[in-house]
């Protein structure tokens, strides 16, 4: 519930000062690039059509009509029509039809081109939507190479990635505007979306299908890395969770293992193995928590665990009454999960 007062400044500076990390102008993926090209074509054609309509309107309003010549009831000629109008109607109909056909054909070609970019994915991720967070599994034939994470993805630049989309509850929609269009996650069905990133950077996506109370706070982050950086990240994520290094962290781990936390969350390499909520193995390596609701920080983590319902009312994570010392210990432990 923060008043983002400073947001006014960049807003006044205009859109170009943004990195467009959550906008169609991000132009960071081939699909978004195709979108921008097609959008520009449509804008051009539609603007021409609109100008034609307004021009006709203005001419109709401003036209000087000589007194006895108008085809109106006052002159008794209201059943006549100017011959130009008939030709105009046919011409107009032709122009509109041809224009729309051209736009439709351009759209089909773009669609086909997008299908072609999606034809040979080299990386496969399964994203499952839940109310109100994203589960992600990097698929691999080898079970030991299957990466399980939540709410934040890393993908390598230039590599076609296929994201398989499923839902555990209601309909969600995976939307990463800077890179591609969206695709719905529908329970009982499997859909997919193809992303071919072109520019490295950090991008934000959001659920785009109303999915209940906290739909507005169901975001995710996608890091597009250079290939070596991606490999490093991937190898790091495949590691089990590091053992707690300090006594405080150890106390935190013990608390988690012995209380409700372990019923929902999973920390690989430990007995904490719940499958209901987000995987926490490398939790601290993420930039946000609660699916983009808050930036990752000690203070925010503290507030979140102390009372998730006040941060994100309706979230499935319950408020668990904890002593302050326990809470600090848990936070300290989680901070080590990089």
């Amino acid at each position: 519930m923060k008043l983002a007062t400073l947001a006014f400044l960049p807003a006044l500076l205009g859109a170009c000062s943004y990195q467009h990390y959550q906008s169609v102008f991000g132009n960071a993926g081939t699909d978004d690039h195709q979108f921008l090209t097609l959008f520009a074509i449509f804008m051009a054609v539609c603007t021409v059509m609109y100008v034609a309509v307004i021009a006709f309107l203005i001419v109709g309003i401003l036209r000087r009509r000589r007194a006895g010549e108008a085809n109106v009831v006052e002159t008794g000629r209201h059943h006549r029509a100017h011959p130009l109008m008939r030709a105009g109607l046919i011409g107009w109909g032709a122009v509109v039809s041809i224009g729309l056909m051209a736009l439709a054909i351009t759209s089909f070609f773009t669609d086909r081109s997008m299908a072609q970019s999606a034809a040979h994915p080299r990386l496969s991720i399964t994203v499952t939507g839940n109310q109100w967070w994203w589960d992600a599994v990097y698929n691999s034939a080898d079970a030991s190479q299957t990466l399980h994470t939540a709410n934040e993805l890393h993908i390598p630049v230039g590599v076609p990635t296929r994201i398989i989309l499923r839902s555990n509850d209601v309909i969600h929609s995976f939307w990463l505007p800077s890179l591609a269009g969206k695709q719905d996650l529908i329970p009982g069905r499997e859909t997919d979306i193809s992303i071919v990133p072109k520019k490295t950077g950090i991008y934000r996506g959001q659920c785009a299908e109303y999915c209940g109370a906290q739909h507005a706070n169901m975001a995710f982050v996608v890091n597009v890395d250079n290939y070596p950086d991606f490999i490093n990240w991937w190898r790091q994520q495949l590691q089990p969770a590091p053992a707690p290094a300090t006594p405080l962290a150890q106390a935190g781990f013990d608390y988690i293992a012995q209380h409700q936390c372990s019923m929902c969350h999973n920390i690989a390499g430990t007995p904490v193995g719940g499958q209901v909520g987000p995987d926490l193995t490398h939790f601290a390596s993420r930039r946000t928590l609660a699916a983009g609701t808050l930036p990752m920080s000690v203070g925010n983590l503290h507030d979140w665990i102390a009372d998730p319902q006040s941060v994100k009312p309706g979230t499935k994570m319950p408020k668990i009454p904890m002593e302050e010392t326990d809470l600090r210990a848990v936070v300290a432990y989680l901070e080590t999960l990089k």
């Binding site: 109909g93 269009g181 695709q183």
Partner: protein, 660 residues
Amino acid sequence: MIERAWGDGNYDREADEERLAKERRTISRDGPKLTGAKLEARLARTWARPPGFLGWLATVDHKEIGRRYIVTALVFLALGGVLALLMRLQLALPESGLISAARFNELFTMHGSTMMFLFAVPVMEGVAVYIIPLMLGTRATGFPRLNSFSYYMYLFGGLLLWVAFALNIGPDIGWFAYVPLSGPEFSPGKRADIWAQMITFTEVSALAAAVVLVCTILKTRAPGMTLARMPLFAWAMLVTSVMIILAMPSIALCSSMLISDRLVGTQFYNSFEHGDALLWQHLFWFFGHPEVYIIFLPATGFVSVITETFCRRPVFAYPVVVLALISTGILAFGLWVHHMFATGLPRVGYSFYTAASMSVAIPTGLQIFCWLATMWDGRPRFQVPMLYVVGFIVTFVIGGLTGVMVAAVPLDLQLHDTYFVVAHFHYVLIGGAVFPLLGILTYWFPKITGRMMSETLGKIGFWMIFLGFQLTFFPMHWSGLLGMPRRVYTYPAGLGLELPNLLSSIGAFVVAMAVLLFVLNGLWSYFRGAPAPPNPWGASTLEWATPSPPPDYNFAHIPVVESRTPLWDTKDKLPVVTGLRVDDKELLLTTVVAAAPDLREPVPEPSLWPFIAACATGILFVASIFSPWAIVFGAIPTAIAMAAWFWPSQVKRHPEPVIG
């Protein structure tokens, strides 16, 4: 009461037939011997609306029912508008905590549902129910009691939704209530059931009104008003009513299936039990897409009416406009999948819907040419109704063009479910339907109330709403492109969404003030406006051949029509037919295409049974939210009410039929 016992008993049929023949010879009929003030006094007595509160409930006068529809719809417009203001207050600033997520979700659900189901369709029906018989040169609609029933069902549906909202059990599932979110597992309680049952009320109401309008337009037109001479507004309402009849059953079915899933455990939408969440989307949008044309086509009728009168000539290329209306109505049924482009259906199939969605722009584009050609070829006068037509053209075409954009799948996959689409549909709905509506209310206000609206206040109001609208909704194209999805109660700072949202919020208040000004203008003018002559605008259609406001019997003599613009082509005397009854209510039925006089149809007397039947049906619908047995038990009083509605008040035979 039954005068005699069952069967023939002591009934002497021959004697009764003789009595009837004798009485038939002395019936008073209108004509050269009974005309002018004497005729008007007799007609006024026959067609008088019953007095008192019960009389008010029992009326079947189409003008009264039309007025009720319009006033009720405007109240819902105001309520829905207040919800919009609350939403805009919350969204004016990023990460605002003014309104909670849960409450906001209720607000957008109520806003959409109110505007779509309780304002847009009913107001169009209300205007049509009021003006169509007058425009067609007749005294009543067909099935006046059904008309009355349809209003009460609408009112009760609206009350159900809003009372529930006031009691904090209003729906929060979005106006199109996708499953599984609206299903039994993810929407516990009764909120979703209330939404679904409101649908049942409003769709029963709309279907009844549609049947009334189709029958009225096809069968009760004045002699000589062939289909080719019928006003364009009547064509628009004919096509709209047929669309309602074909589209509304789909939403009735899917909302009933939703209630059934929630109440008695059916599995229509449950993918774990061989059901499918997409079944809802197909059934809903099969209705939902035609729905927006059901709202738009009457507005095109309004534009035709206003353009003709204020450009002083009939709309250019009448046959083209008629064909455009019909083809829009047909095409509208083939587009619905464009709401589902992101659901992963086969892309090949999507191409068909892209083509269809774009091609529906062609007939609309032709209509726009015809209106512009009428302006060009005529002498436009820019009084308030014509200003709204200009506002319509400027605004609606933008919405139509953004519609062409989202018809393209690659574009839609970015723009779907974002504020870009919110901008698009407000441009087409407000620009395309509300602007013409405000114009037509100004235009027909003198006919309905007998007074003129203030031209000055009207002009100020027009500019306020036109400019306020652009300020509110144009920035939404931008916020959608900048990554703001729909139905979010807040948005993060730093994405560039602050400025467009703030502008939208400011604009919303300008629009609200403009609507308030329009209402105040209406109220002030109702009491103090300049008295209106029968034809203040110098228009051409038959409704202007009656006093303002029209008497209960509409026309003293039923006119004969010889052209598309009867009042412009009549030299000095209006041709009329004679021989219709004066002391009992009857309607002249004519043939469907050529409008040749065919039958004299008795018109039902005012009756409380439609109101009672609506109450019984209403109780059945509301109770069935809580238990399926309500359908069985509630059916009994409903059946009794319906039987009583049909049962004549006397079983004595009359010389000519009377429905009482």
